[in-house]
Symmetry: C2
Subunit: 200 residues, 2 copies
């Protein structure tokens, strides 16, 4: 057990506010560890999602496949991110999108109950799920604005800012899918940038 996922979870909470052992002991019971190999799915589109995940190591993504068979990536979830089809989880409805591992990953699974946190005494965070959802909305808004207003090059630069590590380790075609452009276009954008700013 070289990388204990619960240690990563604890770190996540501590980064935000001190968390007494007792409270964390309760919290951790809501999670179950799992390792995912590359390309292994958490759930497919159309299935009812039974779990969301906290990513302790690696990277997951959520994505849809459109009528033309093209994949569109909604979210990347590298270390310390949450990922889930909340709608499917809470309403037991078929998931709109699939979630799979982009790399070998270690995650902590939680289920629908987590959002309500009935058992938890205070955990200071009946707000926890609210914060998670609010952050998710915030991130999606940023992305909407970029898609509405900025050309591919700017969106790519923003991506590098937002996910510096991912920009390195993910294959170009996944990044292109996230940005909403073709791999060919992204390749060209990179080419241009390499010439504009030789020191990068």
């Amino acid at each position: 057990m070289k990388t204990d996922p619960y240690v990563a979870l604890r770190a996540y909470f501590e980064q935000r506010a001190p968390l007494p052992d007792a409270e964390f002991a309760v919290l951790r019971q809501l999670f179950r560890p799992r390792t995912l190999r590359r390309h292994e799915v958490l759930h497919a589109a159309g299935e009812v999602a039974r779990h969301g995940a906290f990513v302790a190591r690696g990277c997951l993504r959520s994505f849809v496949v459109d009528a033309q068979g093209k994949e569109h990536i909604l979210q990347f979830a590298p270390e310390q991110w949450w990922i889930a089809d909340q709608h499917s989880l809470t309403h037991h409805a078929p998931a709109l999108f699939a979630i799979d591992a982009v790399e070998e990953s270690e995650v902590l699974l939680y289920d629908a109950l987590f959002y309500h946190q009935k058992g938890l005494p205070t955990v200071r965070d009946s707000e926890l799920s609210l914060t998670m959802l609010t952050n998710r909305i915030y991130a999606m808004q940023q992305r909407l604005v970029l898609l509405l207003s900025a050309p591919a090059k700017v969106r790519y630069l923003d991506f590098i800012q937002t996910y510096p590590t991912l920009a390195q380790r993910l294959p170009l075609r996944l990044i292109a899918s996230y940005l909403g452009i073709t791999p060919e276009s992204l390749s060209r954008v990179r080419h241009e940038l390499a010439h504009e700013r030789p020191g990068a």
Copy 2:
């Protein structure tokens, strides 16, 4: 008082599950009515948002203004919709976007406390705010996928489906802004559609 906004709010809840008078009595205290004239703002971008709104009549929108001075509409909120900058509300941070009235509107304002619903006994909905946020995410996801995958014409057709009433009553330039295209382009899209399907 021909249109009591609280009646609209009550209707909203009843549509989802029966709501005893006693519980609604508690709930309604979290809201304060307000009338907005066309173009009147709830808050500007950069201000700390103090309220979110339930729209009883009319239509609000949230939008950002980009570096080139162009407006981008994030959300329309016609009757029975909620609209707010949750991030700003809950974190007392400067709002990322502005909210104003597209038409003369009647709304019920709520503040940050609403999300926690401390005072409320059960209201069957400690889930209420969770549901609201989850629905918001769901809607934004749909829109992201459309922006990533579909050309302007398809996005417009989807808009008509999703907001049949708005497609009628909103000026074209607002719809264009929402769709992420220029008014000129939307005009042409409409022209094409009128010819393709003469019976519409």
